[in-house]
């Protein structure tokens, strides 16, 4: 029965970290994929970081292998970071080469530290979700494949984070990353009249952000197609209005410039650069092409320590579209709420 709480901290920390809890004084990156922490007790802790399958999906078969590696190299513990990378903490220095070779044999590339592409994060998409407008896991697999060199080396201007969400619910955190992909629907939600009985109609009407759903007689609703912004809010609240989307309607938006830390220009939510690209499985060549253009333009033009968002803030959006060669669309000007007018330009300080 639930009610026991989380496993205790004392039992779930590697002994090396328990001995040096709160005593760390500095860290450095001796090579890509390896981090070294120094403690005031004189002990050092080496961490080896590896990429994971997109969405951190592993079979029990693979997980057992990871457990064996952890037993052999890092005192029986491994860690999954916030960005879903696999970390072995407290690896003895002499064993690092062996561990990297072992991980390579298992098919896990080592890297993703410092000024490199960090491991991608995405939601489950087509694998297990009824709202997905795209499959971010497959896109992230293609992106990781394309930027493998950037993952394994650290020559980029700053760290690069790429995330993907399958729909506007943003479970995959597309909007938090330097470059994010977010699945977008373009169809109106259906109304399956037979199932409406099971729905809480006042809730369905109130969750719509734009008031596009209106009551139409007792037990029935109608959708104002002009207003709909194709977010899946009603499809989440009501089984009669799911699934939303179709093969030709669904697609991918690309957002850029998200960032969490308070350094540089501070935390920011990513902004829409490309409002729609079609779904093209299995490799999503349009999406990966657009991401490649952004990464290459950023790499070539950004100053040191400049994240993607900070680079755009410095050069401006006109230069961003010029440098990347991405198509411009008026859909990127916000018209959603009363702040809308501020997103259009109100000065003539142009960068030609």
């Amino acid at each position: 029965m639930p009610g026991i709480g989380i496993p205790s901290l004392a039992d779930n920390l590697p002994p090396l970290l328990k001995r040096n809890y709160g005593k760390w004084i500095s860290h450095e990156h001796p090579r890509p994929g390896v981090i070294k922490h120094d403690s005031e007790t004189g002990e050092v802790c080496f961490t080896v970081r590896a990429g994971m399958p997109p969405n951190a999906r592993v079979s029990t078969q693979t997980l057992r292998k990871i457990c064996d590696v952890a037993d052999e190299y890092s005192e029986g513990f491994f860690r999954v970071t916030q960005r879903n990378s696999l970390e072995f903490v407290g690896v003895p220095e002499r064993k690092i080469e062996g561990l990297i070779a072992r991980l390579a044999l298992m098919g896990f590339p080592v890297g993703g530290t410092n000024r490199s592409l960090h491991n991608t994060v995405c939601c489950t998409g087509y694998m297990h979700c009824h709202l997905a407008a795209t499959d971010p896991a497959a896109i992230m697999k293609a992106v990781s494949e394309m930027l493998l060199k950037e993952f394994e080396n650290d020559y980029l201007p700053a760290k690069l984070k790429i995330s993907g969400s399958g729909c506007l619910n943003n479970c995959g955190e597309g909007s938090t990353a330097d470059i994010g992909i977010v699945g977008v629907h373009r169809d109106l939600p259906p109304i399956h009249v037979g199932k409406l009985k099971g729905c809480e109609l006042p809730l369905v009407i109130s969750v719509c952000p734009v008031g596009a759903i209106k009551p139409k007689g007792p037990g029935m609703v109608e959708i104002d197609g002009k207003r709909c912004i194709h977010c899946p809010a009603c499809s989440v609240a009501c089984a009669a209005m799911a699934p939303i989307g179709s093969a030709d309607g669904d697609g991918v938006a690309i957002v850029v410039g998200g960032k969490a830390g308070n350094t540089g220009d501070g935390p920011a939510i990513a902004k829409v650069a490309v409002p729609y690209l079609p779904n093209n499985p299995p490799y999503w060549s349009e999406v990966t092409g657009a991401i490649r253009k952004i990464v290459y333009a950023w790499h070539a033009n950004a100053r040191k320590d400049e994240r993607v968002g900070e680079w755009i803030n410095r050069i401006g959006w006109a230069k961003f579209y010029e440098r990347t060669g991405l198509p411009v669309s008026t859909k990127v000007i916000d018209e959603f709420d009363s702040r809308a007018i501020e997103y259009a330009k109100s000065n003539v300080r142009f960068k030609w």
Binding site: G5, S8, L63, Q82, C199, S206, R303
Partner: protein, 483 residues
């Protein structure tokens, strides 16, 4: 002895979703709230997947009888079947995704009993093949279980998963993970989502009739389930003092104390919508709390960063790039010359951690505490929003962090009492307005609460602010302050 029990059942198939003793329902306010919440809410029945209001049944039972499982197997999902191999591959798309150097999720799917045709067909048809689903309750398991129907009953009937709350610091012990593997092999597809973006471990593919047994086995090996529905979701924390030299408070201890105090609210949904809490050890915010979470506790320091000039000089000598560091400092407050070393201009320092991250020999300053930001979200009703500062600085005192937890509990109560159904904290703040939210929560005015003052003068005064009586309404105006 006879006991009166109140059971909340599915109106269609009669499956018991939750049950209470009548006496404890009257006495425990949290249970009363949860009971009222369940009665108002349209729930999904785990047995027949019908959504609708629950029906209340009052029954009198012998005190020692154990609650019986009434799941009707007729409606439940079938046990997963192994994927059959075929000479000319039935899964061309998945084969394409399985290739390459990067580890592939599709290759992992094939090693399990996951119905790969669901994924294959979705990729071929460019739409998802899954159907409606949602969070459900089972007797004794109020949160942590999700059911999902299938839009392709010819491939699979549906698929459920449980959410397991991860240990502090996301450290997984090899031994306990092997046990998780055993449970997953026994009951589920043998497929794990190691860390969801919410910070849980998810075990996919448990047939409905096995859900309860699987949850029992998971709790037997020391893990607990939770974090679905309208409760405090699993709180994420950065690795903190366990392996980081920058942590300004003990995030891991904080999270452990959090679960000791709020476990009920994590496992029994009763709020208007989900509430996500994240704990970041320093302003670098590795948990992305300012972007994602309703309540984020961030470690901050008030004194200037401490400079060890000897170490800094050594860093420069070893090839450290001081020119970039000085120009990229967001406050523009770093200056460096060989003789006097590094200097920080106190008035423009933002305490943003940039110099501390980049220059060896600069360490976070003293006078440490936490800042509390409220209302971040990724979607909600009005789109993504960054969390807003509510308390710029307060002390976090171990071991029970009472002041911080009391404040978060108070803010949650304000949200719970005033927000509409399915309204995230951020949406609630937008709807009522920041100053009204600050008034409801009793926030101290501070110049750290805003980037810049407003340009329009369209603001509202309450009558008691205009003519204060008995000191009421003093906090937010300056008419009574001597200038």
């Amino acid at each position: 002895m006879q006991i009166e029990k109140i059971k909340l059942c599915c109106a269609k198939c009669g499956f018991t979703v939750e049950e209470y003793n009548a006496s404890e329902l009257a006495e425990v306010p949290r249970k009363t709230k949860r009971y009222k919440y369940l009665l108002q809410k349209s729930s999904i029945c785990p047995a027949c997947l019908a959504s609708g209001r629950l029906k209340e049944n009052r029954v009198t039972e012998e005190a020692d009888t154990t609650p019986t499982q009434t799941a009707d197997t007729k409606f439940s999902t079938t046990a997963p079947v192994a994927h059959e191999k075929h000479p000319d591959s039935p899964t061309p798309m998945i084969d394409a995704i399985s290739q390459g150097v990067w580890p592939s999720h599709a290759a992992e799917l094939k090693k399990t009993r996951y119905p790969v045709q669901m994924y294959e067909q979705a990729l071929q048809k460019r739409t998802t093949q899954w159907g409606y689903g949602g969070y459900v309750s089972l007797p004794g398991v109020a949160s942590g279980v999700l059911v999902r129907a299938s839009a392709r009953p010819d491939i699979t009937k549906g698929s459920n998963f449980v959410r397991i709350m991860d240990p502090c610091g996301n450290f997984f012990k090899a031994d306990s993970m092997r046990k998780i593997c055993d449970i997953s092999d026994k009951y589920a597809y043998g497929l794990l989502h190691l860390l969801s973006t919410g910070g849980d471990l998810e075990m996919l593919g448990i047939p409905t009739e096995n859900l309860k047994a699987a949850v029992d086995e998971i709790t037997k090996i020391g893990f607990d389930v939770g974090s679905t529905g309208d409760d405090y979701r699993t709180s994420e924390e950065c690795i903190g003092p366990a392996k980081c030299d920058l942590a300004l408070y003990d995030t891991l201890g904080f999270r452990e104390a959090w679960y000791k105090r709020f476990l009920d609210d994590v496992q029994y949904p009763r709020f208007p919508h989900k509430v996500k809490c994240k704990f970041a050890g320093c302003p670098n915010d590795c948990v992305r709390g300012q972007q994602k979470s309703d309540f984020v506790v961030i470690g901050v320091f008030r004194d200037l960063p401490i400079i060890d000039q000897k170490k800094v000089k050594k860093w420069v000598k070893d090839g450290g790039d001081m020119t970039t560091a000085c120009t990229r400092c967001p406050g523009g407050c770093l200056s460096w010359d060989k003789k006097n070393g590094l200097n920080i201009d106190g008035d423009s320092c933002l305490r943003c951690m940039y110099c501390i991250n980049k220059i060896s020999g600069v360490r976070p300053g003293g006078d440490r505490g936490v800042a509390i930001l409220v209302g971040g979200k990724m979607r909600g009703k009005y789109g993504p929003m960054l969390a807003k500062v509510v308390v710029p600085f307060m002390k976090a005192e171990p071991p029970d962090y009472k002041e911080v937890f009391d404040l978060i509990e108070k803010l949650t109560e304000v949200y719970d009492a005033n927000a509409r159904k399915k309204e995230r904290v951020g949406d609630f703040m937008l709807r009522v307005g920041m100053s009204e939210f600050f008034r409801l929560a009793g926030v101290e005015p501070s110049a750290h609460l805003f980037n810049q003052p407003r340009t329009n003068l369209y603001y509202h005064w309450e009558p008691e602010e205009v003519r204060p009586q008995n000191g009421a309404g003093k906090e937010n105006n300056c008419t009574t302050t001597k200038l």
